[in-house]
Amino acid sequence: MKDRQFWIVLGSLFVVFLIYWYLGHHMFNVNRVVMFISIVVIGATLLYNIRMAERGEEFYLRPIPGLKAVEEAVGRSTEMGKPVLYVPGIMDMDQVETVAGVIVLGHVAKMTARYETSLNVPVSRSIVMKAARETCRESYMLEGRPDMFHDDVVHYLTDDQFAYAAGVNGIMVREKPAACLYMGKFYAESLILAETGNSIGAIQIAGTASQAQIPFFVTACDYTLIGEEFFAASAYLSQKPELIGGVRGQDMVKVGVITIIILTTLFRFLYEKWGIGFDVVKLLTVQ
């Protein structure tokens, strides 16, 4: 969207909202207005940075070793003549992490197409299977190797958590992939997968926002993308300006959140100790 069009649309939305508000904001849950303003401010920050990036502004992103290692891992598999195993998590496409995992799969599929390495993607959900197939098919086509892709590259195992872990372990032990990538939402099966991958000598790169599983991946894998690094993976691998702008916007929002935490602590201290100011916690509590 061009700048002029963008500002027209944004301005129009703002005017419409102002009119709605002054006409009595019918049906609007006023208790949640702080959350609404937060969403609008965060969204605006992200959009601002995305547009700046699209206009050609260069943003610095710190290097993430795990993402640099993805291409090395695929290269290693090519040299050894072994497949790349990609596990997009055990949850369905309603989880943001799974969608992020499928997006990273697209980039990995481009690399495997380029290097002519075989790719194996066992999945735990049928909808993920369809989405992952489309992503891989597109990637192979973009690399000019549609002949290398067939539907069974992405195949369904089972919905059950531990049955899936058993199935993936079996694939690892039989096929001995040289690289194992775990990108998505994981639960208790994470350590089972990572330890088995370690035992076959594969290079392992994990990325997840599942807080409880991050320590297990950090312990057992060669590289781990922790939390937001995993969500930023798509920006890193594609180097698309709009995605990099989004990552920068995220960091700006984080600075804002840190500032609010410090100010809230100060205001709360003043209010509870000496009654100065107002109850900031009540203002920020989501109803």
Partner: protein, 273 residues
């Protein structure tokens, strides 16, 4: 082409916007959509989509058997198990046929319940129990004192592991104090590299701890700072929660930013673009 590109992006944008902003609207139909219908539509789609996955699974296993690929006898188990479970769920209720359809899955005496109790439960428990062994081998491999942070991780890990279990409450805080004095002595030795100073520090430390013990009567859980269960509770409540909160906030922001990119159509890779 419009069906594969523009329509999916439009659906994501419209449904995403309604679900996001619908939370602020006090209108029963929108609330019902946001709270119930949206998720239930997804569940209905996912339930029917299972057929796709099941067909793919059976197709691959049949191909393995038909082409006698490596390991094809195991595929017979997969196919057999698949049809056995379908039979138990859809065709056989119970021997006396008194159980209602639907309730037959969990009622005692039915084939479904038998599969759950004698096949699924032991297999699930076995897979989960692998974690115990893998945690041991992963800890053994990963917990090395390479630098200050790794040492801190190791010490915190040991305190939590021992303090969480009953044996931790049987270890006196005075024992931990003596260990601390020795560890401090090792630190002094690395710094000063003088045996006399090290011996002096350790000796004085041991004497102080011993005198304090005699004066207080060696209570097992005092001083609390050296009692493992209290120490592990403190680690859980403060440093652990601080780190967990920080990661949660970061992950929450990451999820929000990623979702906004999907809703606004900036990120289109999930449809293969």
């Amino acid at each position: 082409m419009i069906w594969k590109r523009q329509i999916p992006i439009l659906i994501v944008a419209v449904v995403g916007a309604i679900t996001l902003f619908g939370w602020f609207i006090d209108q029963p139909d929108i609330k019902s959509f946001v709270d119930d219908d949206a998720t239930q539509w997804y569940d209905i789609l996912a339930s029917f989509a299972i057929i796709l996955g099941a067909l793919n699974l059976i197709k691959i296993q049949f191909q393995k058997v038909a082409k006698k690929k490596k390991g094809w006898p195991y595929s017979l188990f997969a196919i057999g198990g698949f049809f056995f479970a379908i039979t138990a769920g859809f065709f056989i209720k119970s021997l006396d046929n008194t159980v209602v359809w639907g309730a037959h899955v969990t009622t005692e005496g039915t084939l479904s319940k038998w599969i759950f109790d004698y096949m699924f439960t032991p297999l699930s428990a076995t897979m989960f129990s692998l974690l115990a062994f893998f945690v041991a081998s992963a800890s053994y491999r990963a917990f090395r004192i390479r630098n200050f942070e790794a040492t801190l991780l190791l010490v915190a890990g040991i305190i939590i592991m021992v303090g969480r279990v009953p044996i931790g409450s049987m270890i006196s805080s005075w024992f931990i104090m003596y260990i601390s004095v020795l560890a401090f002595g090792i630190g002094v030795n690395s710094w000063k590299k003088d045996k006399m100073i090290t011996f002096g520090v350790v000796g004085i430390g041991i004497v102080i701890v011993t005198i304090a013990g005699f004066l207080t009567g060696w209570p097992i859980d005092q001083p609390g700072i050296f009692y493992l269960p209290i120490l592990q509770e403190w680690i859980y409540f403060y440093p652990n929660v601080a780190g967990a909160r920080a990661i949660m906030i970061g992950i929450g922001l990451g999820i929000f930013a990623t979702s906004i990119r999907y809703i606004l159509g900036i990120e289109k890779s999930y449809i293969g673009e």
